[in-house]
Structure formats: structure tokens, C-alpha cells
Symmetry: C2
Subunit: 248 residues, 2 copies
Amino acid sequence: MKDVFLKKNERIDDLQLKGLKIIQNTKGFCFGIDAVLLANFCEIKLDSTVVDLGTGTGIIPLIIYGKNEINKIYGIEIQQEVADMAERSVELNGLEENIKILNMDLRNIEEVIKVNSIDVVVSNPPYMDKGTGIINPNDKKAISRHEIRGGLEDIIEKAKRLLKHNGRFYMIHRPNRLVDILYYLRKHKLEPKTLRFIHSKMSEAPNLVLIKSIKAAKPELKIEAPLYVYNEDGEYTNEIHEIYGLDD
Amino acid sequence: MKDVFLKKNERIDDLQLKGLKIIQNTKGFCFGIDAVLLANFCEIKLDSTVVDLGTGTGIIPLIIYGKNEINKIYGIEIQQEVADMAERSVELNGLEENIKILNMDLRNIEEVIKVNSIDVVVSNPPYMDKGTGIINPNDKKAISRHEIRGGLEDIIEKAKRLLKHNGRFYMIHRPNRLVDILYYLRKHKLEPKTLRFIHSKMSEAPNLVLIKSIKAAKPELKIEAPLYVYNEDGEYTNEIHEIYGLDD
């Protein structure tokens, strides 16, 4: 573990995963269950090269690194301050060889990463559409939550461009955007193959959806059994315990 | 109740709904829970005009008639023998003024029903894609189950043509076709607004999905809480009891 510089309002959190740690800004956007579920949803083959579009604090590359034998993960983040924090998390863990944070607009990604070269692309994009909600464009939280720079279709189109034939794209989003997501995925030849809905409780509507797509695959969707976060007694379900490693 | 002619292998079943009865062929395709759930999912305003694309035995028009104050329902059915049976069910119930069975290919529907004239279109289409499974084109069950005549996109395109501005289209299908369905709906300007997944049990993947679309509506999908058919003890849930009127 190296020494790294912590800025105002930043703290180091332990990921409870092979000693990995992450820097987060307590006044900024801290990672949530969605990033954890998405990183666990990804199937990563040995020595894969992975790209995370909109990596934020770098949480997804860190969890994927902690759970798989990867070749390299690129984390793309447009916000300079957030990318800098992710970069310092990578240094803190001594993972400069494995995780590369790129502070850039994902719409320019082809200038840096070759098309048709990536095994897995992953994205936990902003949930708010450009036209919705009140946005302060100088607000870091707003940029993380809204499609101000790089909307849903940009992300999907770039994922398609980066992936190899039959490469896989994993995303998590809100169910209210599902039509947009599935429509753009098919339009860009990233065929949606698996959906999994996440419900806070069994009796409630889903509040998140995990989506796996495969580049140039044949149409045939599988919807998996739901993932329930809490049981009837308001406690985490066994599956959430397993994902978080709470039983270790 | 009128006397009607019953053919070989036909029987009369009581729908347990305002005395309505239906003729079904015990060797043919009998209605299932999907038709009942779909008919219950439809919101029908007073004096609506409704079209059921691929009506089969006429089960959906009969249930919708039994539960709502409608103006008229058209049931479109391409198979001559099945349409004849549906027509005799209409006569059996004395509903010739309310339900009109049209024995025709839905692709020609605009020759009979004016475009932009219908309040609600409903369809419980064949679940099998044209290219899948072994099909005997002379087999009535096969025609009811496969998209031999009038595929998914034909149904969606015709629903769009028939509906008034802001008219509603209700469909039930298998989750494995969800991408096709949502893609074609948006393509044809029938914006998907509500999804409801139906699970046999809470711990299992959904086996059916109800879809409500509105012609020319703005994008914004709502996914409702799941509908579970059986509880943990293998008995019908309260919601299924209510839909089937089992508590009356």
C-alpha cells in the first residue's frame, strides 16, 4: 500500500475484497449497490481486456480486478477531479499496471483505444436523461447523475465500436429507460441477451435492471430470476450477503 | 342462451363471468391463463371500440365484454374453423350486436376497419417465431402457436394503423421476445409505457410479460410490481384469486 495524497473531504474506504481500497469524496458521488451488482454481473474470462465507460471513482475496475484474472482495465472518466481521485486509488493499490484511468470524453475514445479490440465493456451510466431534472452543469454530482456529456446512445455506440466480434457489454440502469436501452442496443448491433431485474423487496416494482448484450449475436433474450435485496423481515437476502462477501 | 351447433370434440365451458359461455375444441387450442391475464390488464373506457388481433376462440372479447361497458369488439381470426367456433360462441351468448368475429388475415384489416378509428387494440399472439420449432402448416394448434401468418411486426404495425391518436395497445408474450416487441413498438410509434412480468413463483424467472403501449406517447416506461401466480405453498396468490373471481 503506497502513500497517496488525500484532498479535502476525501476518505479511504476498504472494499473488503483482497485488501483493495478506494478514495471517495464524502461531498461527492460515492459508489452504491448498483456498481457492486454490475461488477458482479460481469463474466470476465482469463486475461480479458476490459473498458469501463464513465468509471467515476474507479469502483468497477477495482472490483473486477479483485474478482478476476484480467489483462487490463481502462476506466474512462470525463470529470478531471473525479478521474484524478480514481487515478490516486489505482496508485494507492499499486495497480498502475492493471488499471488505467483515462480522463477524457468517451465520445473520443477511438483516438486512444483501437476499435474491435476489447473483450468486455461495462458501464454504470448517469441515470437521468438530459431533459429531466434541474441541473447545475458545474456540479460534479449532477454530471455523474445526468447525461450531460455522453448520453445513453453515445455509450452504447462506443461500446459497440470498442468490442471484438461477440464481445460482451454489461450495463445497469433504471427500468424506466429500458425501452431506450434495448432499442439503442439492437440498433447498434449489441444484441441484448440477458436481463436481470433488481427489486428492493419481492412485492415491489424493480428499481434497477442489469443488461448483458453480445455484439452481433442472434436475437433471443433470457430474463433471469429477480434479485431481491431485502427479505420480508427487512434484512439482506442470502444473495446480497454472498455478493458483498458478508459471510466471510 | 341460444341453441348452437357443436361440432366433433367441441364442448361448452362456463366462464364464471356474468353467465358467459365459450365453445372450445378439446383437441384444439384451449384458452389459458395468458388470455385471462391480458383481458384483465386492459383498461377499457366507457363505450370503447376494441379490436382483438388473432382472437382464436374469442375468449378475450368475451372477458372484456363481461368486465366493461363497451361499444363494440372486433375479433380477427385467420383460421376458418376457429373463427367459426368463435362466431358460434358469440351467438351462444346472444352477443352478435357487441362482438363481431372477422375471419380474415389481419394484414388486410384496413380493408374492413378504418385506420385511426379504434380506442383499444389487444393481442395474445402466437408465441413461437416463424423460424423456430417443427411446424405442420395444416395443424390448427401450430397456426395458433407460431407466427405462420402475420408475425409480431405485422401485428404491431396493424395495431398502430387501427388506433386513434393516444389509443392503447395491450399485448402478452414470452419474455424471450421482449427485445423484438419493444423494438418494433417504438419503431411503429406505439410507445411502450407499462410492463408487468408474470412469474409462476417468486423465486423463478418470469414466463410471461404484459405490455401496454400508447400511440404517439412520450418515452417513459413503468415496470409494475411482478404478478406471482403461486405462493410458496403452491397455492394461487390472492391476486390470481381476484382475477379469476375465485372468491365470489
